[in-house]
Amino acid sequence: MPEIATVCPYCGCGCGLYLHVRDGRLIGVSPSRSHPVSQGRLCVKGWHAHEVVDNPNRLTHPLVRREGNLVVASWEEAAEVVANGLSKVLESEGPQAIGVLGSARCTNEDNYVLVRFARGTLRTPNIDCSARVQCVPGPAPTSGGPSLGAGAEEIADLDSADLILLVGSDPTEEHPAVAARVYRARQRGARVVAAAARAHPLARLADVHLPVRPGSEVRWLGSLLHLLLAEQGFAADADMPGLSELRASVAGLRPEDTEAATNVPAEALREVARLYLSSKQVVILYSTGLALSTVAGPALQALGSLAALSSRGGGPEVSVLGLLSRNNLQGCRDMGVAPDSLPGYVPLNDDAAVARFEQAWKCEVAREKGLRAWEMLGRVRAMYVVGDDVTRSLPDADAARRALEALDFLVVQDIFMSPAASMADVVLPAAAFAEREGTWTNLERRVQGIRKAVAPPGEAREDWRIVADVSRAMGKPLPYESAKQIFEEIADLASIYAGIAYPPAAVNGGIRWPTPEGRKAGETVAGSGEAEVTALSAEALKGPGARAETNEEYPLLLAADPTLRPWDGEVTVCHTLTSAGEFAVVARDYPDGMLCLNPEDAKRFGVRGGRPARVVSPKGESQMQVRVTEEAPEGIALVPYNQAMHSGLMEISTDPETGRPVLAPTPILVGPVQ
């Protein structure tokens, strides 16, 4: 029974685990104790990771739609159909009419080859990944600055922190391996502050819980900055660029005055400021709870300012760690699955760098800025989708589904028949994580090798191989034979991965980029930026605005909570036994949505736990089952984000710059079903 060291395929933590194989089948999983992230632990998903691979529901053969039905085809036929379908659109409408989606689940190699396929073979700049909707809009993580996720921060910082600030993050649900470290830090005496509307377990255990009203994230952070700068005499370096603007922007944000808008009691905020100033090492964790806020960008800037002030002003040492949701969301970004850059965050206008890619790829590269995932819908005529599903990630799930249905041609590569795949013209079966080699990059930028333990079912094969086959069928073969070869090309062209030898063994936790060599190789590499502070935007301080205000007609605020059961319904989880145990409850007991209500609100609106309630908003009307829980604050109803996406109840707010859509807090009326 050999143990095969690899990496968990679920969240961005990237836990090390061992797969057990017998007679060519996966029969179990064990955690790795020596792995720097898992340290001998796995969450429920990791413990069941083998089931996602050895699963009767896997796609095993290429499927082509004929007379409305998906029927089995050979790889040659399928590649031919895909090539023809894409060529037709290319001929009639040009490359701009094709959109390509990469995957936060697939390997770096898959994503890299897909970028080459999109920008080289198809010559379309429209390449993105819909999971990116969960990333804070703003500069790429390489542009420096302590808050933007490419410094030295790592999960292990938690081991020496004396204050941990959870900002819109419930790691017990989203990043269990990180939560494990928070529990241990707390146990050794570190203090914990949780800022989130929901009183999640770590918030209940925290020294201070700030029950932040969704949408007011910038405001309470502004108040904290005000406290530190004005009241607590934070020794800020007066020469710091931007400091006076920041001061001005938070002047007057006395916690007493922001209390009503943020739900954060002034005394609690003062306590946080005191804790902050008496700490030596602070770790700030944020995840989708912040990143999917309507004011995510400015909020993250505020955190960046806080960290910068500290580093220049003799305050505590601060690491800001952005917790990415998926196993390879980081790598997917690194590989240039983005409309505005090439692998390694190479800007499209950097002639010399682009020329290197063109030379290596022996073709011209589409250099214009393309459409983002959410912009593609309704604008492109054909889509090529690898391990991604807009109907599961974009806030208006039904609109996303309609947009897919309206396409002339849709190709989906996946390991299961995902909702997107079931709408496709061609479905191509991919090899799962234990059936192939390659690398993933975790949320601390650990590049880790995954290993092949078993053969793929039927005719499934690696995503990059499928893409290469399609490219060949279009007359442009891509010369790749192995993951190693692809990785070496990546390390050569994308300076951020320079110095990483393949395979970066998972047992050691892989290798974090940038390596010293990588730092030398690229000027664009992370962490080089000066610490900066910026003024808080007046707009963001206001929050989501009038549309999110409760009133007589709609007296309750409905907030979609992305940290609440974030894995429910996820295609790779719902086919495992975790869905019979752990993950089934919400799906089974609350199939139409779990409306979490504070007991007081439940009483006030006359609804009972376990019973359906009628929910009305300015946008629509729906029924959801009520769960009465102290986790929900009074006056705010919480629904898992992935259920809210289908509810048709919520306002959608778009980022002014990137057009990124997120669900905005929406006022509602709740009542019993007649």
Partner: protein, 345 residues
């Protein structure tokens, strides 16, 4: 005590001879520095100097997933079963893990024998290795399962400078000596004395997680646990299932049917009583809807007097794997302490 001496230079030879007639499962290093019990191809692989293996022996007796029925729906239905009939010697495995098997025996034997388990169990021989340096998470002294055993093994080895002092605990253990008489020497009186001295010394070396389960057991069995303790434990549990999966004696399973064409297989899979759907009935009624209800049920099964009577001993052996594997902070020592003090830290 019947004891013999296996000189240091004969250990490998003994292992090689064992390998001729059985699969020898021993601790060995995997990856960087993880130790797993696994089948060895050569005695060189054995990591004699390990602390606790990442996992107990459970996987060898109760795999994480295993077929329990094969059937064919082609025409009239046919059903059949197959058993793992591999002979195995578990060599150099920890006392706590060997004791854990005794609990599994109680649960999978008894008046209704589980044939898949028993087929493996009957073909297993356990050579325990005593622990001279417990690790910080260990508390087998409170689990009555180490660091040295007084029985329950086929053989128990203690590493002495001259070699292994071999205590014989069963006929099977005795047969292994008899069949390899040429390798064994008589044990001297001071070698036996050394074993007892080492045992006493080892008992002094236990760390912070010494769990004092007895106190917790009393309160749990008498239904005297402050309800707040379960609520506090619930906030420290993430329902990962790790404590149950890593536990040498947790053995719940669930069952699924799976078809490939007209051939089907019924498989059982490890399950965990802490999962929210574990006790949920098809009607939607969940007798243990809250995490605190499930934690209470789990600890009742692990360390109540009532179950200790039914299983022949308390189910917790003190291997400490839940301490290492707990995603939160609701492992047995933490919860036992909470039960005793009426509050969790």
């Amino acid at each position: 005590m019947t004891a013999r001496m296996l000189p240091g230079n004969k250990i490998d030879e003994f292992a090689v001879r064992l390998m001729r007639s059985a699969e020898v499962v021993a601790p060995r290093r995997v990856g960087e520095e993880d130790v797993f019990y696994g089948a060895i191809a050569s005695p060189d692989e054995i990591a004699w100097d390990y602390g606790t293996a990442v996992e107990p022996l459970k996987r060898f007796l109760l795999p994480q997933r295993e077929p329990i029925l094969r059937f064919s729906t082609n025409g009239r239905i046919r059903v059949g079963a197959e058993y793992d009939e591999q002979q195995r010697v578990f060599l150099g495995v920890r006392c706590c893990d060997v004791t854990g098997v005794a609990v599994l025996d109680a649960m999978y034997g008894g008046d209704t024998v589980d044939p898949y388990y028993m087929s493996r169990r009957e073909r297993s021989t356990f050579i325990a290795l005593t622990c001279q340096q417990p690790e910080p998470h260990c508390f087998c002294v409170c689990g009555d399962a180490g660091p040295f055993l007084e029985g329950g093994y086929d053989q128990q080895w203690t590493a002495l400078p001259e070699g292994m002092l071999v205590e014989i605990g069963s006929a099977a253990g005795e047969a292994l000596v008899r069949d390899n008489e040429d390798l064994f020497a008589e044990a001297e009186v001071d070698q036996v004395a050394a074993r007892y001295r080492l045992a006493r010394e080892a008992e002094q070396k236990f760390g912070e997680f010494k769990s004092y389960i007895a106190g917790a057991m009393r309160k749990l069995s008498m239904n005297e646990v402050a309800p707040a303790v379960w609520e506090q434990a619930a906030d420290r549990c993430m329902e990962c299932g790790g404590c149950t999966y890593l536990c040498p004696t947790c053995s719940c399973f669930t069952v699924t049917d799976r078809m490939a064409g007209q051939d089907g297989v019924r498989e059982r899979h490890w399950d965990a009583c802490l999962y929210s759907c574990y006790a949920r009935e098809a009607s939607g009624h969940n007798p243990r809807p809250e995490r605190e209800d499930r934690l209470r049920a789990r600890f009742f099964h692990k360390i109540s007097h009532q179950w200790a009577v039914r299983n022949g001993r308390q189910a917790c052996v003190g291997c400490g794997r839940c301490v290492l594997g707990c995603m939160g902070w609701a492992h047995t020592p933490a919860v036992s302490e909470g039960i005793r003090r009426g509050v969790m830290t």
